[in-house]
């Protein structure tokens, strides 16, 4: 059974169609890159999957269960974790508390106690290398540390699917390599499917993906194994003026 299935999902805002009849399928543990310029509907697609918006048309299935009209707080415990384009950690809470929130509410039945959640947070902090910052208020961190906190918070939810919105934007190339390697490693160990969304064809991200989906004006342009997708003439056309990045 596929982990995530989208069938003809459409989301409109007034007269604007942000996501246009998108269908896609994702397997357990798969690493997928979604590429599309600003305004191509990537973030809206994520919002529809995580339940911030409900689609006007189409269905969303998660492990075979129809979650199309399910509120976001019920989806997360099923195993859908996400990060935001601009990191949104809970500013006044410490890094440790932020991550503990993920463990506390991100699993089915919310059975993890506060103490257990804090222990899980400590383990993840060690894993991603945030020890030095764990008692700082998340609002005082640097952008890279905020991003890392957000990823750690999502990992604490024990997700089956991790949606990463512009996860690497604005980061130093060496940081990107490190973070991508870390995520890839954790994802493999924990059998997490990752959907990483990038604005440009970023070698670091796309290179790791097994599959690339290119969005253009809300619609799916290409959905193919990475190598094929990158050679597709339509992709080159969309990215004319946006040559592949270093």
């Amino acid at each position: 059974m596929a982990l995530l299935e989208l069938e003809n999902v459409t989301k409109r805002f007034g007269g604007l169609t942000a996501v246009d009849h998108v269908s896609l399928e994702l397997e357990h543990g798969q690493f997928v890159g979604i590429v599309g310029p600003n305004g191509s509907g990537k973030t809206t697609l994520f919002n529809v999957i995580s339940g911030v918006f409900f689609p006007e048309e189409g269905r969303i299935l998660f492990e075979g269960q129809d979650i199309t009209g399910m509120p976001p707080y019920k989806r997360a415990p099923l195993g859908i974790g996400r990060t935001f384009q601009i990191p949104r950690p809970f500013g006044s809470a410490t890094v440790r508390e932020n991550i503990a929130v993920g463990a506390m509410f991100g699993t089915l039945g919310h059975k993890t106690s506060v103490d257990e959640s804090l222990e899980i947070a400590d383990a993840i902090i060690a894993r991603v290398g945030l020890e030095a910052h764990k008692d700082k208020a998340a609002g005082t961190l640097t952008p890279v540390e905020k991003k890392l906190t957000e990823i750690a918070r999502a990992l604490a939810m024990k997700p089956k699917l991790l949606l990463m919105d512009e996860a690497m934007a604005g980061m130093h190339p060496s940081d990107i390599d490190q973070m991508v390697a870390l995520i890839k490693q954790i994802a493999r160990e924990e059998q997490i499917a990752v959907v990483a969304m990038v604005e440009h064809i970023m070698r670091a991200v796309v290179g790791m993906a097994e599959k690339v989906i290119v969005l253009h004006q809300g619609a799916k342009l290409v959905d193919a194994p990475t190598k094929e997708a990158l050679e597709d003439p339509r992709v080159v056309e969309v990215y004319l003026g946006h040559p592949p990045e270093e």
Partner: protein, 333 residues
């Protein structure tokens, strides 16, 4: 087990402050009146903080819950005065009624208004407060505009002396108990999942939702808790201390504003904050009214503006950040 106890260390400074206040009031001649006022403000801040401080939602109609609690006690006293055998039991029923009525109102208001955010929520709650007041006056519910005066009934139930002791001393002690209870509940929430959920939704409601938090549920929990305490404060500080109730008085928006100022002064969302805020506000109000009668508000207003701009975290908020990680830090949150 030890760990469970250390978790409640932050209650020590709060309860120490209340104890010192109480001892000063009992032992220093002529201080009880001031102490009673300070206890009222501390209790008010402590109760309001559970909602305002922990969720970040501004309930501009908070006083309505105190008003309804006042009516609960008033109704118990005036309607049950014939059952002399109940004695103090009538007061207990009054507290129960105050709690039930304020909680019911908060469920109704919460179900409606908590769907709104930010300024829309604030305006809706003002609407609830004013609407409720004018419903009582307009439809002449519970004697309408005339209100209820029940000094005679209270005297009949408890006897003149006991009634007088109640309104001049025991009611204030009950306020102290309510304040202490509210502080305990605040810390209990902070240490449980409720507190984590509230912090998350206060900081970023949408992010909290996608983290699996049912934000509506936790907002309502905080709202009902905070409103229930407001009902008890109304039943005590208003109904028992001054045995009358008039709609324009118990729905007066200035009490809500005072509560907001106290929470903000001390530090919204902190445990010790409402105590510090209540003390600073109460003491300055008391002495300003003695030394500069009539000018309190003229002096207060610009000070409030300066504090909002310069110290938005409040006294305890700043202290907490300074002490983070030190030995003292475990006591001050």
């Amino acid at each position: 087990m030890k760990k469970q106890i250390t978790k409640y260390y932050p209650l020590i400074p709060v309860y120490a402050a209340y104890l010192i206040l109480f001892l000063i009031g009992v032992n220093v001649e002529g201080m009880w009146q001031l102490v009673a006022m300070l206890l009222f403000y501390c209790a008010l801040g402590q109760a309001f903080n559970i909602f305002l401080g922990m969720t970040g939602y501004v309930d501009f109609g908070y006083v309505a819950f105190m008003g309804v609690g006042t009516y609960g006690m008033a109704l118990a006293i005036t309607r049950l005065v014939g059952f002399q055998g109940l004695g103090l039991g009538i007061i207990v029923i009054g507290f129960f009624l105050a709690l039930v009525m304020s909680s019911l109102l908060s469920v109704a208001v919460g179900a409606v208004a908590l769907r709104l955010r930010g300024a829309y929520f604030a305006i809706a709650t003002i609407g609830v407060n004013e609407g409720f007041r004018f419903l009582i006056e307009g439809a002449k519910i519970w004697n309408g505009t005339e209100g209820m005066i029940f000094t005679a009934e209270l005297n009949r139930i408890l006897g003149r002396e006991a009634a007088s002791a109640l309104s001049t001393f025991w009611a204030d002690v009950m306020v102290l108990v309510i304040a202490a209870l509210a502080a305990f509940v605040t810390l209990f929430y902070m240490r449980s999942k409720i507190g984590y959920a509230l912090t998350a939704l206060r900081e970023d409601e949408d992010a909290a939702k996608v983290m699996g938090i049912n934000v509506t549920k936790f907002k309502i929990i905080a709202f009902i808790t905070s409103s229930g305490f407001a009902g008890l404060i109304g039943a005590t500080s208003w109904a028992l201390k001054t045995p009358y109730v008039f709609p324009p008085e118990v729905f007066e928006i200035h009490y809500t504003i005072e509560a907001i100022i106290i929470v903000l002064l001390g530090g919204a969302g902190t445990l010790l904050g409402p105590v510090i805020g209540g003390l600073i506000y109460g003491i300055s109000k008391y002495y300003l009214s003695i030394f500069m009668p009539g000018f309190q508000l003229l002096i207060f207003a610009p000070i409030i503006i300066v504090i909002i701009i310069m110290f938005p975290e409040g006294v305890v908020g700043m202290l907490k950040n300074r002490l983070k990680g030190t030995a003292l830090g475990r006591f001050i949150i």
